[in-house]
Every structure is written in C-alpha cells, then in structure tokens.
C-alpha cells in the first residue's frame, strides 16, 4: 500500500513536470514565431478558411482548373509527346487535322441526335407531366415509374434495348411481325407499306434504321429528368389561373396553350438548353447500342463528337506524338459549341421568358 502510494506521488510529480516542460516549449515556440511575425498567420481567418478548403481545393486545382488551362495550350502544341512532355512548337494544324471527313460525319450524327431527340422528348414529357398533374390517385406511383430510367445504368439498359431491337430475338420485330399479320398490316398494305421485321442494328441495317434505334433509346432515357422538372414546375403554378379559366368555360387545349405553356416557359427554356448541352456530349448511349467502335457490323458510322475526343486517347493512341493535341483541339471545338448554348441560357435566364 505504502509502496504503491509513493509510486503514485512520483508518477504525479513526473506528469506535472512534463506538463511544465511542454508549456515552456510551447511558449518558447510561440514567442519565437511572434518575434519573426509568422505567429499571426495561424490566428488569421484566411489561414483557417484555407485549412478547411484545402482538401477540396487542392484536388480541384489539380484535376479541374489546371486541365482547363493545359488543354487550351495543348491544342496548339506541335508533335506533343506525353511521356517526356516535349513539343516542337506551336501550330494551328491540330484543328485542321481534326476536321477530316470522319469528324464531319460525327458532327452530322451529333446534330441529328441533338435537334431531333431533344424537341421530341421535351414535347412528350410536357404532355406526360400535364397529364400526371391532373390525376391525384396513383400519382406518386406513376412518378416513381417514370423516373426509373434516370437512375439506372445507361450501358445496362442500352444492352437491353440492343437485345430488344435484335433481328432474330428482339421484342420489337416480334411485335412488328405480329401486327403485320393482323388487319392493321392489311390496312397498311393498301398504301404500299408492309409492316415486317426490320434490320435495326445488325450488319444489314441502314443509316436510317440504326439512327432511329439510337434516337428511340436517347428519348426513352431522357424523358425521366424532364418529366420530373416539369411536374415540379407545374405544381408551382398558381391555381387561380385555372379556376378563372374554368369559370370562363375555356377548353382544355386553350388552357394548355394559353396558361400552362406560357407560365412554364422559363422551365421549358432551361430544360431545352441543358438537354441540348447534354445531347452534344452523348457517348454512352452509342457505346451501349453499337459497341466501342460506334459502328454497326455493316459499317454504318454512328460516332459522335465525343467519340472522336476519346478516340485520340483510347487503345494506346495517347502515346503517339500529336494525338493528344488533336484530342484537345476537338474537345475545344465541343467546348465552343457548348459555350454558345451556355451564353444563350444565361441570356434567357436574365430575360425570364414569360408571356
């Protein structure tokens, strides 16, 4: 007992002395830093703010800000080799070599996707959300179902579409065959249109059928987000307008064109432009349907602009001198196109399109 208590006092003594030493050293260091005017930095708000920001900020600097500047420069390098970072000088040839016939096909494909799928999907989703807004029973059930395509994997569902449009095993061709054998098929036969299985995406597919497959999948996938935004927008419209229209006995179509669409126009403009931007970057939808070559087996070319950008990096292409510069040049062109739409969006947002 006695032994233990002496040990305890000794230990406490040691602890006390250690604490004193620690405080001495601490005051020494702070005095030293105060003397050379660094100590104040630790007490500055700026230092504290930066401390909290630094994890995110360092990563953003390395992986977002630096690449933007570097890609701008890289597009003008001549014979850039990424392994040692050597360049021969600056040229504009990269832009010239990007603009070969294949790239023009890519621009055509992308433009088709953008200017066909976006308007169609905006109109369809507008109608669906107006319908959805006028039911009360089962509303959230339908909302949940319509939102499903947004969360699921683009590749996985694209492969399902690719199976559904298959010539032999596909559901679509089965339906076409079934419909063609009924009176509907006979009816269409009168006009010289035969409903029969089509080569959607295999080796005998034409540009029209392959593009239709791609557009159907793009529209199917892009409806979800638009329906969600539109239904949210419709709920914010003042009910008074509709009540007033009801008193006047206005027809449904007139209510839609004169009240719903004008009041929803800021939303429609926002959705249209962001979808344009998104559609310009379409890549995974094509990969899911037609594979990484972006072509059907019958060599119908469906590659988009982004295909070209990644084509300069993939499959070891990045190691060849000058390839990455061409990729950077192509991505700058895409950036230019997107910038135009972003500027339009900012302009529209400021004006707030209304009636």
């Amino acid at each position: 007992m006695n032994k233990f208590s002496t040990f305890k006092t000794k230990f406490n003594d040691l602890r006390w002395r250690m604490r004193n030493y620690k405080n001495d050293v601490k005051s020494l260091i702070t005095n030293f830093f105060d003397k050379i005017y660094i100590g104040r930095i630790f007490k500055l708000n700026f230092f504290k703010g930066m401390l909290y920001l630094s994890p995110a900020l360092i990563l953003i600097l390395i992986f977002t800000l630096y690449p933007i500047i570097n890609s701008l420069l890289m597009a003008f390098y001549e014979n850039y080799t990424p392994v040692d970072g050597m360049i021969d000088g600056f040229t504009l040839d990269n832009f010239k070599s990007v603009l070969k016939p294949g790239f023009l096909v890519a621009i055509k494909n992308t433009a088709l996707i953008v200017f066909v799928s976006v308007p169609i999907s905006v109109i369809i989703s507008l109608f669906i959300s107006v319908m959805l807004n006028s039911v009360k029973f089962l509303k959230s059930f339908f909302q949940t179902i319509f939102f499903l395509p947004y969360v699921t994997n683009t590749i996985a569902i694209g492969l399902v579409f690719s199976l559904m449009f298959d010539f032999d095993y596909g559901l679509i061709n089965s339906i076409l065959e079934f419909v063609g054998n009924t009176f509907v098929g006979d009816f269409f036969d009168l006009f010289g249109v035969t409903i029969s299985p089509l080569h959607w995406k295999d080796s005998q597919a034409t540009y029209a059928t392959a593009m239709t497959t791609l557009l159907i999948y793009t529209i199917w996938g892009s409806l979800a987000f638009k329906i969600m935004v539109f239904t949210a927008g419709l709920q914010n419209i003042d009910k008074q307008y509709y009540d007033a229209a009801k008193v006047d006995g206005t027809s449904k179509w007139r209510i839609f064109t004169k009240i719903t669409v004008p009041l929803l126009s800021p939303m429609i403009a926002y959705i249209t432009i962001t979808s344009f931007i998104g559609a310009f970057k379409s890549y995974t939808t094509v990969v899911a349907l037609f594979g990484e070559t972006g072509r059907t087996a019958g060599s119908v070319d469906l590659r988009t602009i982004v295909f070209y950008i990644y084509g300069y990096i993939m499959n070891g292409n990045a190691l060849n001198p000058g390839e990455l510069s061409r990729g950077a040049a192509a991505s700058l062109m895409l950036f230019g196109i997107i910038l135009v739409f972003t500027v339009i969006q900012m302009y529209v947002n400021k004006k707030r399109v209304h009636y």
């Binding site: 992986f63 179902i145 994997n153 095993y169 892009s222 990644y310 990045a318 950036f335």
Partner: protein, 430 residues
C-alpha cells in the same frame, strides 16, 4: 398499457420477418447447390441434385422452389416496410379509416406470399379499425350545373388519362421486364424465338444463369472493384465537401467569394475538356495507370456537391453559430455537433448520388484501367461478347445487367425522396 392493435401489428411484423429470412436462406441454400454448366455447351443438360435426403431431384423442382422464394420476397418485403411504418400510427392510435382498408388489402396480398398467419392477423386488425372508425357520410347539395352527363364526361376523361399514363408506364417498364425475363431463360427457351415469350412459368426460370454470369465472366471481381471505388470516393467526397461547404458558408476570409465564383465557373466547362490532361497527369505524372488511385483520387471532390451543401448550410441561422461561439465551442465542434446533424438529409442525398455515379461510371474507368480493374459497366459491355465470333451471349449479359440494375432499383425505391431532391438541381446526366 399496450392495446390489442399494437400486439397484432407486432405479430404481423414478426411473422413477415421470419418469412423473409426463411425464404432468403432457402434461396441461398439452393443457389449454393446449383452446378455451373461446362464451357461451350450448346444444349441444355437436364441436371439432378441430391439434398437433405432427397435423391435425384430434377432442376425444374429447384427452379420452382427458388422462384417461390423470390415471389415471397417481392411481396413480403414491401408489406413489411409498410407495416413497420403503420406500427407507429397504431401505437399512438392516430390511425384513420384508410389504414384499415390498407391493412385488409395487405392481408389479401399476404395470401400470395403463402403467409397465412400474417393474412389472418392483418385482416383482423383492418376490420377492428374499420369498426372503430365508421365512415362519415357527408352529403353534398347537388348544384344546377353539375348534371349527369358532365359527370360521365369527366369520368371518361379520367379513364382516358389513366389509359395513356398506363401506356407510357408500360413503355418505361418493358425494357426492365425484358431484361429480367431474358436473364431467367434457358438456352432452348431463348433460341426458340419463333413465338413471343411474354412470361415464364416458375419451372422454366433458370436461376443458374446468375451463378453462371457471376463465375464465368469473373463478374464478381468487377462488382467488388466497383464497391471499393464507390465506398472510398463517397467517403472522400463527403469529407471534403463538408469542410469546403463550411468554409464557404460560415468562415469569413478574404477571397472567399472569388474562389467560390471560380469554382462555379468550372461547372460550365464540359468534362471532356479536362479528361485529356487528367489522363496525362494520372498516367505520366503520378504513374497511376490501371490502379485504384486513378479511379478514386480525381473523384473525391465535386463542385456541385459543395455548392449544394453550401446552400443547406446557409439556411442554418447565424445566431446558432454565434451562440455556440459565446459558449466557447470551436468551429470543428460546431460543425460536427450542429451543422452535420441539421444537414443530414442533404448529406444522404450526396452519398446516394455519388455512389450511383460510381456504379454507373463508364468513360473514365475505361480510359485509365485494364481488364483487372474494370468497373461493372465496362465489364458488362465487353465480357459477354465472344471476341472471335462477335456473338453475344444475351442470356448471361442480361443476367449480369439484372445483377447491377436491381440493387439500384431497390436503393431508388427506398430513397426516392433524397434522390429526386438532389437531381432536381443537378442538371442533365451528360
């Protein structure tokens, strides 16, 4: 203390829980039992198994048992969740007449999951509630212009509306249905494409396809890779986002607004622009080609999430912060004790969206990895196509697609509120 209804609901929940766990275990037991067929078999081989003393049980019997298990799971799990939510209202006696109607419907549904116990108790509870809360009849005075033909017209209108909405819903659902249907087909069933198979009987659901897809194409490895990457990036993103959003919303320092505006500006630049430089940085500067670091490090922060969380933090009143400061609470402590609990819904949204993003990622992983570090999307695209003949094994591909889609659907159904909240502000998928 406890009333009769609480005991009833506890019994229901308990019986459903036992039912779910039982069917899960049964499914797992038979799944373990199944033999993966040999490579390059063109025709189905009818296999038979011995288990628990039974000899030479054909595979179709196993298929029926496993399908029944899945059916029980599909019915019982939602009912369990609903009953669990209802339990609270029953306990506090805040239930309505609708609760009773729902419970009777739930009881009838339980018949299909073969859970007679839950059926009886559910219907009993429902009837008790219906007796306790009789229907309140309110008679409206019919006005002049509410005539019969107008009522019929509006009824027809509603019917048409539901008809169109159902058609759209079917169009949305069909690919998912087709995927699951194909993933369960046997070889002969799939290649017999002359007649449309719109459904499968229980005995023809070949659950072995899932096992085949997981083992043959090494799909288990890719799922493991994706889980590792998703878990790490999500933790990193939440950590960096909380700190940065706190700095942007509470701390006052010089240049804060300037840094924030710069970050917002970068959101306008398409990701394709910085992929090229990032590829060089990752593969040449850091030498991370084909490693997990290449998949994780660039994605442990996101400007949009910082912006999103900052908006939530800004809604927390400043007086709270000042009160904490007066009490001598440090910034970090305030962040941990006050800000994070209040902003929890937003953090859940960020977590789910980030995990979903990794689960669906395709382009960047494709650029910086080779086959042993692939994530699920790439494996799905490349693994099931024979490189020599360019023929795709659709059944296994669809089985793999089902394996990676069903978890997402489950997460979505449970966390719909959080996901839709975040997506509404994020813009397009790109």
């Amino acid at each position: 203390m406890k009333n009769k209804l609480t005991i009833y609901s506890i019994i229901t929940i308990f019986s459903e829980l036992v039912w779910i766990i039982g069917s899960l275990l049964t499914f797992y037991y038979f799944y373990r039992l199944l033999d993966v067929p040999e490579e390059d078999q063109i025709f189905d081989v009818i296999r038979s198994y011995d288990f628990l003393g039974f000899k030479n049980v054909p595979e179709t019997t196993l298929n029926i048992i496993m399908s029944t298990c899945v059916l029980i799971l599909l019915i019982s799990t939602p009912l369990l969740v609903m009953n669990y939510k209802n339990h609270h209202t029953l306990k506090n006696e805040t239930y309505e007449r609708e609760t009773g109607i729902y419970l009777i419907i739930a009881g009838i549904l339980s018949i299909f999951s073969l859970n007679i116990f839950a059926t009886v108790v559910c219907i009993l509870t429902g009837i008790t509630i219906m007796i306790k809360k009789p229907r309140v009849k309110i008679k409206f005075v019919e006005t002049e212009f509410e005539k019969k033909d107008i009522k019929i017209k509006s009824f027809v209108n509603t019917l048409l509306l539901f008809f169109f909405l159902s058609i759209v819903a079917i169009i949305v659902i069909v690919p998912f249905y087709w995927m699951i249907l194909t993933s369960l087909m046997s070889k002969s069933n799939f290649s017999d494409y002359t007649d449309m198979n719109l459904y499968l009987p229980f005995s023809d659901m070949y659950w072995i396809n899932f096992k085949e897809a997981l083992t043959k194409a090494d799909f288990g490895l890719y799922i493991k890779n994706t889980l590792i990457v998703a878990f790490t990036t999500t933790i990193g993103t939440v950590f960096t986002t909380i700190l940065a959003a706190f700095a942007f919303s509470r701390l006052e320092f010089k240049g804060r607004e300037m840094i924030f505006t710069t970050l917002l500006m970068t959101m306008m630049v398409p990701g394709e622009l910085y992929v090229i430089t990032n590829f060089v940085t990752i593969s040449n500067t850091f030498h991370w080609y084909n490693t997990f670091e290449a998949l994780i490090v660039p994605f442990i922060t996101d400007v949009f999430y910082i912006f999103f969380l900052r908006q939530t933090f800004k809604q927390i009143p400043d007086s709270l912060y000042k009160a904490a400061k007066v009490d001598g609470c440090s910034d970090l402590k305030f962040l941990m004790r006050v800000m994070i609990p209040i902003a929890m819904p937003t953090l859940i949204t960020i977590t789910i969206l980030n995990a979903l993003g990794t689960w669906n990622a395709y382009v960047w992983p494709r650029l910086v990895t080779e086959s042993d570090h692939y994530l699920v999307s790439i494996a799905l695209r490349t693994s099931f196509t024979n490189s020599a003949t360019q023929m795709t094994d659709y059944r296994l591909q669809m089985a793999a697609a089902t394996i990676i889609t069903v978890p997402i659907l489950i997460v979505f159904l449970f966390a719909r509120k959080y996901i839709m909240r975040g997506v509404g502000r994020s813009g397009t998928k790109g």
